[in-house]
């Protein structure tokens, strides 16, 4: 056995706390170690060449790299081994950065730990066996979940490259939050005007199957070979016949508050399209509010529909599709302003949320673009915009939602434009304008005469102290620049609500076998270098589902996710992890304990021989069967008992040598 050990300084990241020279020397004395070297950056091309040359020169048959987490550089060093003709599974890493140098202060402690971890890997690598990754073909179809701007961008990129996309959207139309917005900052483009051409492109694209009013219920399989079950909810509209004329919507007598698209500010019918430019053009019948479904009479829409497209009998459809990759772009929820009771939302009629105001200033919205109080006619003379509602607050959401400052500035601008005589107060903690032309927009607002008060608003109340406050909403705040408590009477208050994870993000994460960060946004593979991939190969994330971001960033991420998918499709096949379980036929007693423990039903029982057998294509290599097997008949390659025990003993032996009990 000839083992090469390579200790990485990682600049000062490791060498700053760990005595790499001592680790190298110690490792050199370990059983079977032929060469032990240290280098400033093992992952650099020179570092990798060092390994490759040693493999050839010394005939190394095992390699241990003591550096960062294998999640970071295992593929790098596996490739280096492979280039030098060594099976990549003969590589083992010792994580002396994330698990040692970065979490300890004391140099001797960190060095001892690094030694023990290195010794453990050296002891283990001896038992590593050559394994061969299986190549599996990639299905060229892609599933994009979420029809907001991130999903639209991703779907179009892939479809334009000539590959098929299934775009699944929960609501009756694609468009997402962006379709609701009036203007986009800082250019003040009409949001719908720039988005709808993209929506139509999606709707008419020959490579896109758009599944609106649908949800993904289950996903199985692995990269290149996913199977997804999608529930296409009943629209109760025959799409073959419907022309999208809108007569049904006109004639429907059931009016309900539209809490989704109009953010509660407007109403819609029970049969409806969320907005005039909806894609697809077909309406849906909201069965919870339809008089026919609830009370068994009406059918007005059916009577008036010129093409007989209403179909009350329609059922949900279950669609099973096969795809190679998945992009999850499910967006965000707006923070529920009712949670902060001192701001009085839903108690004082003239306190609005940002989305409500967005609909209000929109010419296609419920007030036809007029900025008015809840009564629908009175124009306000003074408006307070409260920043950071639910954001940057340890009681609600600690994170900065990144877009609120900018849209609050935009609101102020809209008010100045529509009501030139109105006064606008912005209550802010900090003004955060990181983006192209964003700071310039802030300066423009300063010139337009918006009043900025630096201080988190304490409350909004109607309890008046002076005659001038009578009939007004009073915003109280500490003006931290003046160092004084202030009470500002206004006619209208707008709460700049933050972005938070979808209420069901955890359930959705489970469907796609991805995980959520502490806040509930989907967790990326690496926060800096891989914010698009997830720990599950073939599942990518884009847009606000990963964290709050503005439209340009969302578009970038949607396109980036598409690029990642296209590179996998372009390659045509993927390497499937070689670590699989295998049953030893000689010792298996056929007790079937393993079958019960396998999460994938990947073990079958051979009746006639009373033996278990692993179905290789289904096995994902978790190893629960190994732990369940009573006769020690199952081996999980690359995580064998022998390897794990050797690793554990390597660590323990080293510890007793370094720190005798």
């Amino acid at each position: 056995m000839k083992i090469g050990v390579y200790t990485c300084h990682c600049g000062g990241n490791i060498a700053g706390t760990v005595d790499c020279e001592a680790v190298t020397e110690w490792a050199g004395r370990l059983d079977g170690v032929e060469v032990s070297r240290e280098y400033k950056f093992m992952c650099s091309s020179l570092g990798q060449e060092l390994i490759e040359e040693d493999i050839k020169e010394y005939g190394l048959d095992r390699v241990v790299v003591a550096s960062c987490s294998p999640h970071m550089h295992e593929p790098t060093f596996r490739n280096a081994c492979q280039r030098a003709g060594l099976n990549p599974y003969f590589l083992e890493m010792a994580n002396i950065r994330e698990h040692a140098s970065w979490v300890h202060k004391d140099r001797s402690e960190a060095t001892e730990k690094a030694m023990a971890l290195t010794a453990a890997s050296v002891a283990r690598v001896r038992y590593n066996e050559p394994l061969f990754a299986r190549l599996s073909p990639v299905n060229q179809n892609t599933l994009v979940v979420g029809g907001g701007v991130a999903g639209i961008q991703a779907a179009l990129e892939i479809a334009n490259a000539g590959y098929h996309v299934y775009l699944v959207e929960r609501e009756p139309s694609i468009g997402g939050h962006m379709a609701q917005l009036d203007k986009t900052f800082p250019t003040l483009d009409c949001s719908a005007c720039i988005l709808t051409p993209r929506m139509f492109e999606v709707g008419n694209h020959e490579n896109i199957t758009m599944l609106t009013y649908s949800e993904v219920e289950e996903v199985s399989g692995y990269i290149g070979n996913f199977e997804a079950r999608i529930r296409v909810r009943a629209r109760c509209i025959n799409q073959e016949l419907c022309t999208g004329c809108g007569v049904c919507e006109e004639k429907c007598p059931a009016k309900v508050v539209d809490t989704i698209f109009e953010a509660g500010l407007g109403r819609r019918k029970a049969v409806y399209r969320p907005f005039p430019q909806a894609v697809p053009k077909f309406p849906v019948i909201d069965q919870d509010n339809c008089i026919w479904f609830q009370k068994g009479k009406c059918r007005a829409c059916e009577k008036f529909c010129p093409t007989d497209a209403i179909d009350f009998e329609q059922d949900d459809r279950i669609l099973e599709i096969e795809v190679g990759n998945i992009i999850v772009a499910t967006g965000y929820d707006a923070f529920d302003a009712r949670r902060i009771s001192q701001y009085g939302y839903a108690r004082y009629p003239n306190v609005f949320t940002a989305l409500e105001f967005e609909r209000m200033t929109n010419a296609a919205g419920p007030t036809e673009g007029n900025v008015v109080l809840r009564d629908g006619e009175t124009q306000p003379d003074s408006i307070a915009i409260i920043h950071c509602v639910g954001s940057r607050d340890v009681r609600y959401r600690e994170h900065c939602s990144r877009v609120c400052c900018m849209y609050s500035l935009k609101f102020a601008h809209m008010v100045h434009e529509k009501l030139p005589n109105a006064t606008v107060y912005n209550f802010y903690i900090d003004i955060r304008t990181p983006g192209k032309d964003y700071e310039e927009f802030y300066h423009r607002l300063l010139e337009e005469g918006t009043v900025f008060i630096r201080g988190r608003a304490a409350s909004i109340t109607d309890a008046t102290l002076t005659p001038e406050e009578e009939g007004k909403l009073i915003v109280t705040a500490e003006d931290t620049l003046v160092g004084r408590q202030r009470r500002i009477p206004v006619d209208m208050a707008i709460l700049s609500t933050g972005l938070e994870p979808r209420h069901d993000s955890h359930e959705v994460a489970r469907i796609f076998s991805i995980s959520c960060s502490r806040e509930g946004f989907f967790k990326e593979r690496h926060p800096k270098l891989d914010p698009i991939a997830t720990m599950t190969d073939g599942v990518f994330i884009a847009g606000c589902a990963q964290g709050p971001r503005d439209i340009p960033d969302t578009v970038v991420q949607g396109a980036a996710a598409a690029a990642r998918v296209l590179s996998i499709i372009g390659k045509g096949e993927v390497e499937i992890e070689a670590a699989k379980a295998e049953v030893n036929d000689l010792t298996c007693v056929g007790c079937q304990m393993c079958i019960e423990s396998c999460p994938y039903s990947a073990i079958e029982h051979l009746e006639e021989r009373q033996k278990a057998r692993v179905i290789e294509a289904l096995c994902k290599g978790c190893g629960t069967c190994v732990a369940a097997c009573l006769s020690k008949s199952i081996t999980l390659y690359h995580f064998t008992d022998q390897q794990l025990v050797a690793q554990m003993r390597g660590a323990m032996d080293a510890l007793f040598e370094l720190v005798p009990a």
Binding site: S69, P70, H71, N95, R97, E98, H99, A100, W102, V103, H104, K105, D106, E109, A110, E112, K113, A116, L117, A120, H506, A509, R510, S513, S515, C516, S517, R518, K523, P527, M535, T536, A579, S597, P599, Y600, K620, G621, C622, G623, T624, V626, A627, A628, L636, F639, D641, Q642, L644, V645, A646, Q647, M648, R649, A651, M652, L655, F656, V659, A661
Partner: protein, 145 residues
Amino acid sequence: MPEDSYEPKIIGFLCNWCSYAGADGAGMARRKQPPNVKIIRVPCSGRVSPELVLRTFMQGADGVMVLGCHIGDCHYGNGNHRTAKRFPVYHRLMDYMGIEKERLWVQWVSASEGQLFAEAVTQFTERLRQMPPMRGKLTTVPSPD
């Protein structure tokens, strides 16, 4: 040997997808922790057989950590359900061998819970410092082969 010089030797079996990534996260965020836990990566906490835990104690470990994904978040769907179900098995075997059950720490730590990981390491190390060392308690050490 003076009481205060004793440093518990702990082996942690961490699932690759959540807890190992959580420990990495603790590193990235520089969450300081005692150096006592030496981490061994396993694909799933469900891979950790009771036998592996016992062997670790027999090797002289003062404590063993088994960390996996939260229930429902398992990369393999429900591999960690087996871990949860095995919990009483670990304890019964440890009891049988005369090892205090406080020496085993099973917890769910997600990839984003670096802080939780560092806290668990700190608490467990602290707990074991209050207990006598294991060395010498178990004498028979079988070969790994």
